[in-house]
């Protein structure tokens, strides 16, 4: 350029000068456009909620890379309704609030140049309760998502990804018809990158999880339950899951509640008491939403952690016979408090399997090899896992808000508190779980209705591996009067 200018004759100069300006202008435009693109594709901005409850329900944990992006997610039930149990995502038990676009448990975050969608704690820890078959469900945050079909959700995503129609050609018009306002860059990005990548990602996740989630030899989890730890083996650690013995692939467990965490610090948490650090439990659960040690939004998780420490259990929303409850209190103190009260001597410890006698699968599928592999998660960070342990039984849980934590036992094999006070042979051999209609008589959810409001509930059979309803015989030999008093008292916890 310089040389050309120097060598040029006087008469050439104006033309060359113009060309120079044009080139400079082009360069400036290119640089600006590059900067715009860089900004567009590196911007990381979550939708932020100042209100902590809103943050819990809709805030981002940085798990977006794991879930299909917003517009893909919106298009899926429109394109593939046949893979859902009913109408829309609601049919999986997702909880929608009036006037909200997304169900509780989903977050939005602008990331990698697109509208990302993530999962958060509320996804598995928000429950609903209905007073009458006709009434609208009430939402309880922090409550076990007893109505939610997480396996159904994964199967839906996987079935969609397997479908030949999961293509840019078919999906982009659907997204636009649903309101996606794509500019040309978006459209090109979705067409040439995003949709294919999402599909590939889902197929890879399916490949890793299929031994647990799409395997005829492994009984279904059903509504309100999840195999908590096998997905870590499959996703974080990439175990060859098809080589894992089938017994180890079984172990569905109820979602726990997550309120009132402060007094739980130092107690052994999770059903089998495999960790006694609230922080590590939270960091582990955050990985479960799809976040990774480098994508996790630590500040966001910290807000939730702080709030949950003090967040109180919900009060029993129906009448309590106070005098009967008062009769029940001493029974509880004598019979239950040692294991189940925050002041009890055995709270947060594990009771060996031979003693407690409940279903063994969940205990055994949290294996020693997983324990020590977990110690490599968050490596290079001060909060690398150091508290996971392999236990020999199930942990004594505090019973705060126990009315809202049905069905009971770790595998949700006993529908109500009243049933739990019966010896195993008298507990229901078959019942339905997932209906949110409350059973005030027995304290738990109505469990003899196979379907309602267009939803089919999960038929729970105790003979299926992982569903055994034996064990925990405490209180089964009380008189009927004492049982009634004890149950009345437990409503107050």
């Amino acid at each position: 350029m310089n040389d050309a200018t120097v060598r040029g004759t006087r008469s050439d100069r104006p033309r060359h000068g113009r060309r120079r300006w044009v080139l400079i202008a082009v360069a400036v435009v290119l640089v600006l456009f590059g900067a715009y693109l860089a900004r567009r594709f590196t911007r990381d901005s979550p939708v932020v909620y100042d209100n902590i409850v809103e943050h819990y329900k809709y805030g981002s944990l940085g798990s977006e890379a794991f879930s299909p992006p917003y517009w893909v997610w919106k298009a899926l039930p429109v394109m593939f309704p046949e893979y859902l149990p009913g109408e829309g995502y609601q049919s999986l038990g997702f909880v929608y609030e009036e006037g909200k676009d997304l169900p509780i448990g989903f977050s939005r975050r602008r990331l990698n140049g697109l509208d990302g969608l993530g999962l958060n704690c509320a996804f598995c820890h928000t429950g609903t309760v209905r007073d009458t078959p006709e009434s609208a469900p009430r939402i309880y945050v922090g409550m076990p998502a007893h109505q939610f079909d997480i396996q159904g959700y994964f199967k839906f995503l996987f079935d969609a990804a397997l479908d030949q129609r999961f293509t840019p050609d078919q999906m982009i018009p659907v997204m636009e018809s649903l309101g996606a306002d794509f500019d040309p860059i978006d459209r090109a990005f979705y067409r040439y990158v995003v949709i294919n990548q999402v599909r590939l990602g889902l197929l890879q996740a399916r490949d890793r999880l299929s031994a647990i989630i799409v395997n005829d030899e492994v009984p279904p989890w059903g509504l309100g339950r999840v195999d908590t730890f096998n997905p870590y083996k499959a996703l974080q650690l990439n175990y060859p899951m098809h080589e894992v013995p089938v017994d180890e692939l079984i172990g569905p467990a109820d979602y726990p509640q997550i309120w009132n965490q402060a007094p739980r610090e130092g107690l052994y948490l999770h059903w089998d008491g495999n960790n006694n650090s609230v922080d590590e439990r939270n960091l582990g659960a955050a990985l479960g939403t799809g976040a990774t040690p480098t994508s996790l939004d630590y500040a966001s998780l910290d807000r939730i952690d702080t709030w949950l420490r003090e967040f109180p259990p919900p009060e029993y929303p129906y009448d309590i016979d106070r005098s009967l409850a008062a009769e029940g209190e001493p029974i509880y103190q004598t019979l239950c408090a040692d294991c189940h009260d925050f002041d009890g001597s055995r709270i947060g410890t594990t009771i060996p399997l031979d003693t407690i006698g409940t279903d063994p699968y969940r205990l055994h599928n949290y294996t020693y090899d997983l324990t020590v592999n977990q110690a490599t998660l968050y490596a290079g960070m001060p909060w690398r896992f150091t508290h996971w342990r392999k236990s020999d039984g199930y942990a004594c849980q505090a019973l705060d808000g126990i009315w809202a934590r049905a069905p009971y036992l770790h595998n949700g094999s006993v529908p109500t508190l009243r049933d739990l006070l019966e010896p195993p042979e008298n507990r229901p051999a078959v019942f339905y779980r997932g209906y949110d209609l409350y059973d005030r008589e027995n304290v738990g959810f109505v469990s003899d209705v196979p379907e309602a409001n267009g939803r089919e509930f999960f038929r729970m059979e105790r003979t299926v591996p992982g569903n055994d309803n034996g064990g925990h015989l405490y209180g089964t030999d009380l008189s009927p009067e004492k049982k009634a008093a004890l149950i009345e008292y437990m409503k107050t916890l």
Binding site: L237, L363, Y368, G380
Partner: protein
């Protein structure tokens, strides 16, 4: 004036280049060479996780690569469970299993130490977590499997910067500079190093597998650095317990299965470190000295299950009459080499150690402040002390007999095929569970007809009455 200015510009340019060079040099030095001391206060921790110098070369793998390898190449491991599937003894909450070290030489590097082959695990049932016995024989660990996992991974075209960095990225943000160093230096260099090591170990590919709990202890030394041409010997032998070295040193007992060393324990420790791929120039003498004194008094773990004391005391007499002369402190032949004609056990391990090897090892370190002079060639096997014998199954030097009960049977009645390396304990027969679905799933199949695996010989006690045998086994629990 102009000339002066031009000169100054040159000087400034030179200075800038120099400064950039120094900065770059410092950067490379600090990210690739700068050594951070690794110190463990407690002797036990030092044994479990302390460095013996293997991070400098050979089997070293940068930590971040080591971390993601089982997630990228799970098919090269014996089963699900990541590294655990190889039988590592791994303490809960620890970033690395026992026997692996993490030392920073520019980058965190993973090496091995003595505890890798000298830490045993024991479980009471298949669901229980293992009890860990440091200084016990790693009967459950597949050393060759670990090598082969590293080699197979390094040989795989997917062992490349794109894949490895993509697997690290969700777990750790190493920053731009380290990422570049990994991409252009550490990943290619690690691959090259492992492939070279594989080449040096290729002799093992055409002889019988070591199997869980066994290694070929001296052929690597012979062929890798003693300059012995590759021969066709098979040295497969059990990992040994290394606890309680005091009495062995004080009584002048032989070391190793064929007693190829005696005298100062230092020769055993230093040659073992060399065998673990440390070079003579980088031997950390101080720390090896520390480990050596730790082993002098490392306690023998008592049998953790029930002992019938009455039966055991009856057995004490049987032991005194039949075993003590070779196996008890004060026995006339304890710690000495019993001729092969007499003991009659598989001769491969003994034959793998040759006169030429003796000469080579005894002159190997002549230029150093330390050296070897006690290597010897023997025609037999060492009569070892039976301290903690309950935890030293399978038995005989090649681990060809699963339990003490089986060892008291004549060879034709001992199991011909069994699975070793499963760590659930067999309290009936004294040894580990070696038959059944789980032993087959987690263990390694030992067939006594394979060369090096013969379960012949050591007929002592096979003629005792069943009652005497029972009482003897009961007594052996207490050693």
């Amino acid at each position: 004036m102009a000339r002066h200015g031009k000169h100054r510009r040159w000087w400034v340019a030179l200075l800038i280049v120099l400064l950039i060079g120094i900065a770059l040099g410092y950067l490379l030095w600090s990210r690739l060479l700068r050594e951070e001391p690794l110190h463990y206060e407690a002797e036990l921790d030092n044994f479990k996780y302390g460095s013996i110098g293997t991070e400098a070369e050979g089997l070293r793998v940068p930590f971040w690569i080591w971390l993601v390898m089982p997630r990228i190449f799970p098919e090269y491991l014996p089963g699900p469970g990541g590294y655990v599937s190889l039988g590592f003894a791994w303490e809960e909450g620890h970033e690395l299993p026992i026997g692996l070290t993490k030392k920073v030489i520019g980058q965190p590097l993973v090496g091995i130490n003595c505890a890798l082959c000298h830490t045993a695990t024991v479980r009471t049932d298949k669901y229980a977590k293992p009890e860990i016995y440091v200084t016990g024989p790693a009967h459950q660990f597949d050393t060759q499997g670990y090598f082969r996992f590293l080699f197979a991974s390094a040989s795989d075209p997917r062992f490349n910067a794109d894949n490895i960095l993509a697997a690290i990225a969700p777990n750790y943000d190493m920053g731009f500079i380290d990422r570049m160093l990994y991409r252009y230096i550490l990943i290619p260099q690690t691959r090259k190093g492992l492939l070279e090591f594989q080449q040096e170990m290729s002799w093992m590919d055409d002889r019988p597998e070591w199997g869980r709990g066994r290694i070929d202890p001296f052929n690597p030394a012979k062929f890798r650095y003693l300059g012995i041409p590759v021969d066709d010997t098979i040295g497969n032998a059990d990992n040994m317990s290394v606890w309680n070295m005091g009495p062995k040193v004080q009584n002048g007992y032989h070391y190793h299965w064929d007693g190829l060393l005696d005298g100062p324990l230092q020769e055993v420790v230093l040659s073992s470190a060399l065998g673990d791929s440390v070079t003579p120039d980088t031997l950390p003498l101080d720390n090896l000295e520390r480990i050596q004194s730790f082993l002098m008094n490392a306690p023998v773990p008592p049998y953790p299950f029930d002992v019938d004391e009455e039966l055991a005391s009856a057995g004490a007499q049987v032991f005194l009459n039949n075993c003590a002369d070779c196996h008890a402190i004060g026995g006339s032949r304890t710690g000495s080499v019993i001729p092969i004609e007499e003991v009659g056990t598989d001769r491969h391990r003994m034959d793998s150690w040759t006169e030429a090897s003796v000469t080579a090892y005894n002159s190997y370190a002549d230029e150093y402040s330390w050296s070897f002079s006690h290597f010897q060639k023997n025609e037999g096997y060492n009569a070892t002390l039976l301290d903690g014998i309950w935890l030293r199954g399978p038995y005989l030097h090649n681990g060809s007999v699963p339990s003490l009960t089986d060892l008291l049977e004549p060879p034709q009645s001992r199991p011909q095929v069994f699975w070793r390396g499963y760590d659930v304990y067999d309290q009936e027969r004294i040894g580990f569970v070696t038959q059944g679905e789980d032993a087959e799933r987690y263990g390694w199949r030992l067939d006594v007809s394979v060369p090096g695996n013969s379960n012949s010989g050591h007929l002592y006690g096979t003629g005792l009455t069943p009652e005497e045998k029972r009482s003897l086994v009961e007594y052996l629990k207490t050693l």
